[in-house]
């Protein structure tokens, strides 16, 4: 496998007393797309929270391009090139579209040329460009999702985490979002895509991890799983 862009190694995490992640290990290779699947409450978003530093890992380790970031604050992890498109989008509602993007702007971690800025984000999502001065609260769900993706890209990340970007969107918009993800992957970005729906992930992912009740149930190359989805039902619920 390529070098690891992001790894969780034997991570245990708790909300208060409830043990939510148990010895979770997963790896997203450089330039690869890791699909993270699991049913409601399996612990997918918790993995994201641990990765970006919002929830401390009680045991285990998180590394970004080999560097240990387990104990770092969210701001510091962001500076190491990790960006998140959070579940539920969580755009800054009292900011305009443009402000949502500029507050997250950052030069690339490796000091290279900034691939993402206002112009390139607006070129990718023309509708955001048209609404740049609007309050972001007034955007449609699909537009808010694009804004959340654009905001994450403004940081010029090396690893992009996307937590259920298709949630609550019309099929046509979901297709647009998936096309965007494909495009980003083709540009060489390392991506972790969290989904509940395996159909969306199987043909773009390189690897798949399935969580079940806070534990890793399956880790496999996506190619191995594409044909025999039947035996995954027990982990994913019925689709």
């Amino acid at each position: 496998m390529a070098n690891s862009a992001l790894s969780l190694i034997d991570v245990d995490a708790f909300y208060g007393d409830s043990h939510v992640l148990e010895k979770v290990s997963l790896t997203c290779g450089e330039g690869c797309l890791l699909g993270l699947l699991g049913r409601n409450g399996a612990g997918k978003s918790t993995c994201m929270n641990v990765t970006v530093g919002l929830l401390p890992a009680r045991r285990g380790k998180v590394t970004v391009f080999g560097e240990d970031v387990t104990k770092l604050a969210p701001e510091a992890i962001s500076a190491r090139g990790v960006a998140l498109v959070p579940q539920g989008r969580r755009i800054f509602k009292s900011l305009t579209v443009r402000e949502n993007l500029i507050v997250a702007a950052r030069k690339p971690t490796n000091g290279g040329k900034a691939a993402w800025n206002l112009d390139t984000v607006f070129a990718m999502f023309p509708r955001l460009g048209e609404r740049r001065s609007q309050m972001s609260a007034h955007l449609s769900g699909g537009e808010q999702q694009m804004l959340a993706i654009g905001r994450a890209l403004m940081a010029n990340p090396r690893v992009l985490l996307m937590d259920e970007p298709s949630e609550g969107l019309a099929p046509q918009i979901v297709a647009e979002v998936m096309a965007t993800i494909r495009h980003l992957k083709a540009s060489g970005l390392s991506i972790v895509l969290v989904e509940q729906n395996p159909k969306l992930v199987f043909d773009i992912a390189d690897d798949i991890v399935i969580l079940n009740s806070g534990q890793v149930a399956v880790t496999a190359p996506a190619a191995d799983l594409r044909d025999g989805t039947a035996d995954l039902r027990q982990h994913l619920g019925v689709f």
Partner: protein
């Protein structure tokens, strides 16, 4: 009970009202930012005002000299090792700015090391800031004694200015000008700069803001320090007018509260309009119905609380 006033008196009262309103804005804009953005009910805001005023008048006496530092009762001995020289000349606005910076530093320490521990807990925040205001009041009494202290109006601001056929006291006009300039600067900063957008993002969703790389904690310290510094600056600018005395803090704090309730929390425009409104009510109320001047001051606040709880310009808090 009602006393009638003539045009000339009304004109002077009006200019005093706006000058007083300008001071109130310097006091309450910071209070409004701190409460509106960080949800901290900062009951030591009057103390920042008074502390700034005391720092200012002490330095105004002879400028800031090392001899003056050595003469501070009880703690002055710590400066004995310094040779005698003048650190700052007694320039009024320079000293107002320095006092603002000093108190901003104190505010930053209070926020970072005390208030930060009480994140989101309003009652403990009220108790802490109220307690600190008592501590500061006592320390001021110890250092500056109980005598009121009124510095002279700065020499360059004595005299009058002429608008058309009317003459106005220059110093009061200057206070109004300063308040308006600061209001515009604050508005530009909060609403039109990246820094302001980052602060608002940190208010909207602190967790995601941090994940986006925004140093929310530092920004909040900055906002608190800015509010404290503005109040202190206002304290110095207002000293030739209000004078400085024990209890100035407790006199000013309720005024900041009324202004912010009237104008709406977190709204700078609200703080500006509220300040001028309270300035007018206070001055005209005292001149025309002296027996009821406090009723006139607090009645509008009660009406606003009942009829429009978010304040005249406040956004209703979701």
């Amino acid at each position: 009970m009602l006393r009638y006033i003539g045009f000339e008196e009304a004109r002077l009262l009006a200019i005093s009202s706006f000058a007083y309103g300008g001071l109130l804005f310097l006091l309450s804009s910071g209070f409004s930012l701190i409460f509106g953005l960080m949800r901290i009910p900062n009951l030591m805001h009057g103390s920042f005002f008074m502390l700034g005023a005391y720092f200012g008048v002490s330095m105004l006496e002879k400028g800031l000299t090392t001899d003056a530092l050595k003469a501070i009762p009880k703690i002055g001995g710590a400066f004995n090792f310094l040779p005698s020289f003048t650190i700052l000349p007694p320039n009024f606005f320079l000293i107002a700015i320095i006092s603002g910076l000093l108190v901003a530093g104190i505010g930053a320490l209070v926020e970072r090391y005390l208030l930060r521990r009480l994140n989101g807990q309003e009652l403990p925040q009220v108790l802490l800031t109220l307690g600190l205001s008592f501590v500061i009041a006592d320390l001021c009494l110890m250092i500056w004694t109980g005598d009121p202290w009124q510095p002279a109006t700065p020499a360059e601001l004595r005299g009058v200015v002429q608008f058309g056929t009317l003459f106005f006291p220059l110093y009061r006009v200057a206070i109004i000008g300063i308040a308006v300039v600061i209001a515009v600067a604050l508005w530009l900063m909060v609403d039109w700069t990246r820094l302001g957008a980052m602060i608002r993002a940190g208010v909207d969703d602190p967790q995601i803001a941090r994940v986006c790389g925004i140093k929310v904690s530092q920004l909040f310290t900055l906002v608190f320090a800015l509010g404290a510094g503005l109040a202190a600056f206002g304290g110095v600018v207002g000293a030739p007018y209000l004078s400085v005395y024990p209890g100035l803090d407790a006199d000013m704090l309720p005024l900041a509260l009324i202004v912010v309730i009237l104008g709406g929390t977190g709204s700078l425009l609200g703080a500006l309009v509220g300040s001028f409104l309270i300035g007018l009510l206070y001055n005209f109320g005292q001149a025309m119905v002296p027996d009821l001047s406090y009723v006139i001051l607090f009645l509008p606040m009660l009406l606003v609380l009942v009829l429009r709880p978010q304040g005249l310009f406040g956004r209703s808090i979701p």
